[in-house]
């Protein structure tokens, strides 16, 4: 038999492959055209740097080896790796095999795929021949083992570390069915061929002989190769409309990432590649507290991205999310899920919201101080935090004033989030002027959201510090101001301070300085959301309570004396329930641990304590 004869069964495969090789470039170019000139300039600046090599390395480790999934769960990682890397090697080694055989790089593309049909015994009677036969059979086993796990995952997902698997839509099911049949059919066709020829690789020949004992192999030869070719072609046709679009898209995405594009606020090419690079692996649904605690299973990252890909997500999908960042942290493709969701909400608001007027009240109290404290609207709902912060500053003898003490000064975030960009800009300008007028050398905030806003939206001449950082510094510089106790405390990482700003160490150091840190089940990058996030606009109060109570339970498992956090919203959320173990902000703990006045200032002992209420400037 000669391969130049083009047997008819290769056509489904060839047509499918041609389709993919035409469709993908066309669609990728359509997306890339959404990029602005600036985006292209950015790409050009980085394309000839080592970043491109780094991208290649990441493509190898993530698209083929799936290293990040291994980190999530070894068996799940193996499943993804064996399918992706195994298939990849089958293609590459198969190509090499045919090239060695034909001494020609330009053999027809179907030759490696159907090589065994043409040459059941491989390259005749050489060591090379036997070597390739063995390697190709081993690779087939590798892929089939991954397929077995994928099958298992559908029915016993927990074995692969998944409490929930993704609910799939029609195109996914079609593509999945084709995919599941590809390798078993390849094995079958190769076995039948080997059985007839009486020679082949150890695996396919073995199974071919076994099949020969009860099947009329001759009659099955062509049908089996036809079937294999048809499912391959079918898979290629289904690919662009299913989740398997991620296979090629992730490769491009990684290049774009290393060429310094990022999840945009406005829709550019990067967003399209991100949306299509989601493999619907479902890891995000497994870390989301909405599904774990509140029985909400329609709005997780995977479903949001899927809806975004095929159209516009419905409002409940856009809104039912804490923007806690747990899924972005876990996503093996590193999709900027939160940013995409915020962008989606913005588009929705633009479509439905009439431009209401936002009227911030801003006033000046231009006194000269060292530290300017901005409590923010959230801390105003937890006056205990403001009180504690004032007292600590006073006792430390720091000259300070509270920017938003009596008048409403706003950071501008509410306006911006509601989609009123102009108002937000003018609020920011006025607040900036107030801050500058204070002459302070530090802006202190007790709210992680404020912290992010001042860092990201403002251009201030003075540093902004969150109170965890500030208090930790104060404790280092003035250790005698505080005492240590035997209080046992667990610490809750607020989403916006931890995952949002990377501040994990300072609050823990404060706790270790003033008491004993009790560790909890989910910490740092893996911390749970308190459930209070204002970003979720769709969740019911009941469901919220379920999330909160379950997070609280994790924090109290070690039976601490206090649950400590460093965000007014987290504190309020936890403290609202009936709590056996009290919840406190880190500032309140620090205040509790201030040395008694007499020890600090023996000369002052007995003097009535100054009424700190309303005192704006303290010497």
């Amino acid at each position: 038999m000669n391969f130049t004869e083009h047997p008819a069964f290769v056509f489904p495969f060839v047509v499918g492959m041609l389709f993919i090789f035409i469709y993908l470039p066309v669609i990728y170019v359509t997306w890339l055209r959404k990029n602005s000139l600036a985006d292209f300039k950015t790409i050009l600046r980085s394309i000839f740097t080592t970043n491109t090599l780094k991208a290649v390395r990441e493509i190898f480790s993530e698209c083929l080896l799936h290293r990040r999934i291994f980190r999530y769960n070894i068996r799940l990682g193996y499943m993804h790796m064996s399918l992706a890397f195994g298939w990849f090697l089958l293609i590459v080694v198969g190509k090499i095999e045919t090239m060695v055989f034909t001494h020609d790089g330009f053999n027809p593309p179907y030759l490696p795929v159907f090589f065994k049909y043409f040459y059941p015994s491989g390259i005749p009677d050489t060591f090379k021949g036997r070597f390739f036969l063995m390697i190709m059979d081993l690779l087939l086993i590798l892929v089939l083992s991954g397929l077995f796990l994928a099958f298992l995952k559908r029915f016993r997902s927990r074995v692969l570390g998944m409490k929930r698997t993704t609910k799939h839509i029609f195109p996914d099911r079609i593509a999945l069915t084709f995919l599941w049949f590809i390798f078993p059919l390849r094995w079958f066709a190769e076995s039948v061929t080997a059985g007839i020829a009486g020679s082949g690789g150890f695996f396919t020949l073995g199974s071919g002989r076994a099949l020969a004992s009860f099947l009329p192999l001759e009659d099955l030869l062509l049908p089996s190769w036809w079937a294999y070719s048809i499912v391959l072609g079918g898979f290629f046709f289904a690919l662009p409309f299913s989740r398997y679009m991620h296979i090629f898209t992730e490769v491009v995405l990684i290049f774009l990432k290393y060429w310094n594009l990022a999840t945009p606020e406005r829709q550019n090419a990067y967003a399209d590649f991100e949306i299509n690079a989601c493999s619907r692996c479902g890891i995000c649904t497994n870390v989301c507290q909405l599904s774990a605690d509140a029985g909400i299973t329609h709005s997780q990252a995977v479903y949001f991205l899927r809806d975004l890909r095929y159209g516009t997500p419905e409002r409940p999908v856009l809104e039912n999310c804490f923007l806690c960042g747990r899924c972005s942290q876990a996503c093996p493709v590193e999709i900027g899920i939160d940013q995409l969701r915020i962008a989606g909400r913005k588009r929705m608001m633009n479509a439905i919201a009439p431009a209401a007027e936002m009227r911030p009240v801003v006033s000046a109290n231009g006194e000269k101080v060292d530290v300017l404290y901005f409590a923010g609207c959230m801390s105003h709902l937890t006056p205990g935090i403001i009180d504690a912060t004032r007292e600590i500053l006073t006792r430390a003898g720091i000259r300070f004033s509270v920017l938003d003490d009596r008048e409403e000064v706003c950071c501008g975030r509410p306006a911006r989030q509601a989609g009123f960009a102009d108002q937000a800009r003018s609020i920011i300008a006025r607040t900036t002027a107030l801050i500058n007028r204070s002459g302070a050398s530090l802006l202190l905030v007790t709210c992680p959201i404020c912290y992010k806003v001042f860092n990201e939206e403002y251009d201030l001449p003075i540093p902004v510090e969150h109170h965890t950082v500030f208090l930790n510094r104060l404790m280092t510089e003035r250790p005698s101001l505080f005492r240590k106790s035997s209080l046992r405390m667990s610490y809750h990482d607020p989403c916006d301070l931890g995952r949002g700003s990377g501040i994990y160490e300072q609050p823990r150091s404060i706790i270790r300085r003033t008491g004993v840190l009790v560790s909890a089940a989910h910490e740092r990058e893996d911390a749970l959301c308190c459930g209070g996030s204002l970003a979720n606009l769709a969740i019911t109060p009941r469901q919220r309570t379920l999330v909160t109570d379950s997070a609280y339970q994790m924090l109290t498992a070690g039976n601490p004396d206090y649950v400590v956090t460093s965000c007014p919203l987290c504190k309020k959320t936890f403290a609202a329930g009936k709590r056996e173990i009290p919840v406190a902000d880190i500032a309140e703990i620090a205040r509790m641990m201030l040395q008694p006045e007499e020890i600090l200032h023996p000369e002052k002992a007995g003097e009535a304590e100054l009424e700190s209420e309303g005192q704006e400037i303290c010497q």
Binding site: H380, A575, E613, G614
Partner: protein
């Protein structure tokens, strides 16, 4: 004790519901032991100064209950906390804090309610600012005119009440209405006006629930005769000013505008929370309603019958109730318990 335990009833709690029940049992010739964790009987009634709707003196009413206790020679085991109740072979085993165990044929649960801890609504500043107090705190202050609401011996000029603190608030997990705080707020507002005629009084409410007889009339009187200002709107936050008075931020939802007032005192009308320990669910299978109060088997046919055969409910442990409600429920539960002991359920 010689009496067959099968014929005895344990009454848990000597608030008004427990007292009424025990008296009814005694009068019917049934032996009852009353357990009370505090040092004396009366429950929350001992903490009130004047009662709605007629502003009767609470001490006098309490005395009435105590007289009944005395006349009927009720055996009230004060200072005895009931820690566990179990049911084995048709008998209830009641365990107290000191580890003592006794057996009964039936149990009448009358352990009342718990006041909502206002510190859980931190935005109001309770426990942080001294001029923010709760309605029970006000009752106590009003008992002694020398303290009252005086500030440096001066009468207050402005006082605000906040309704629904800890009730009808999904954020604290309590979606139900506590029933008695609206009328308490009206009653207390009048009391403040009477004591300090020059003081301006305002009540921030969401809805006013004047369900009892004489309640609506008192509310009318509060507006017309006492000039109390009822403002529909939820208070969003409170902050201290230089002189320690409290600046309140709210939204007037009728006028649709934000509002800021500075008051000398902010009084939080705290609601009721269930006092049923969760352990009773585990040891007895006692079921609770959505709000966490002890649930009854059938709201219409069997109020006062808990999900446990032989365990009856009276008073605020089964949901927010007034004193007359609680007394009626106590008597009804006593009768149900007698039927049960006689095998006539």
């Amino acid at each position: 004790m010689s009496v067959n335990p099968k014929k005895r009833v344990a009454v848990v709690g000597a608030g008004v519901a427990g007292i009424a029940a025990a008296v009814a049992l005694k009068r019917a010739g049934v032996d009852a032991d009353v357990y009370e964790k505090e040092s004396g009987p009366g429950g929350h009634l001992t903490r009130w100064h004047a009662l709605f709707p007629g502003r009767e003196n609470a001490a006098t009413v309490l005395q009435g209950f105590l007289n009944e206790v005395k006349e009927n020679r009720l055996d009230i085991r004060t200072g005895t906390l009931v820690t566990d109740i179990r049911k084995e072979n048709g008998l209830f085993r009641v365990t107290t804090g000191s580890g003592e165990c006794s057996e009964y044929g039936a149990v009448l649960l009358a352990n009342g309610f718990r006041l909502f801890d206002a510190a859980r609504k931190e935005e109001y500043g309770y426990g942080i600012y001294p001029r923010v107090i709760t309605s029970p705190d006000l009752e106590k202050r009003m008992e002694d005119p020398a303290t009252g609401l005086l500030i440096h011996n001066q009468a207050p000029k402005k006082v605000a009440f906040v309704h629904c603190v800890g009730s009808r608030d999904a954020k604290v997990g309590n979606r139900y209405c506590s029933k008695v705080c609206c009328i308490s707020g009206v009653k207390q507002a009048i009391a403040v006006r009477e004591q300090y005629p020059s003081c301006e009084v305002m009540n921030f409410y969401m809805d006013l629930r004047m369900f009892g007889s004489g309640f609506e009339e008192l509310y009318q009187e509060a507006q017309e005769k006492y000039g109390i200002n009822f403002i529909r709107g939820r208070v969003s936050e409170a902050a201290p000013t230089l002189d320690g008075s409290i600046q309140v931020k709210a939204e007037d939802t009728l006028l649709g505008c934000p509002l800021k007032v500075t008051v000398d005192w902010l009084i939080l009308l705290v609601g009721m929370e269930p006092g049923i320990p969760g352990s009773l669910h585990d040891s007895l299978g006692l079921e609770r309603d959505d709000a966490g109060f002890a649930g009854c088997r059938n709201k219409f046919l069997l109020p006062g019958y808990s999900s446990v055969d032989g365990l009856f409910l009276a008073g605020a442990c089964a949901g927010p109730a007034t004193i007359p409600d609680s007394v009626n429920q106590g008597r009804a539960a006593a009768l149900s318990a007698i039927h049960y002991l006689n095998g006539k359920v």
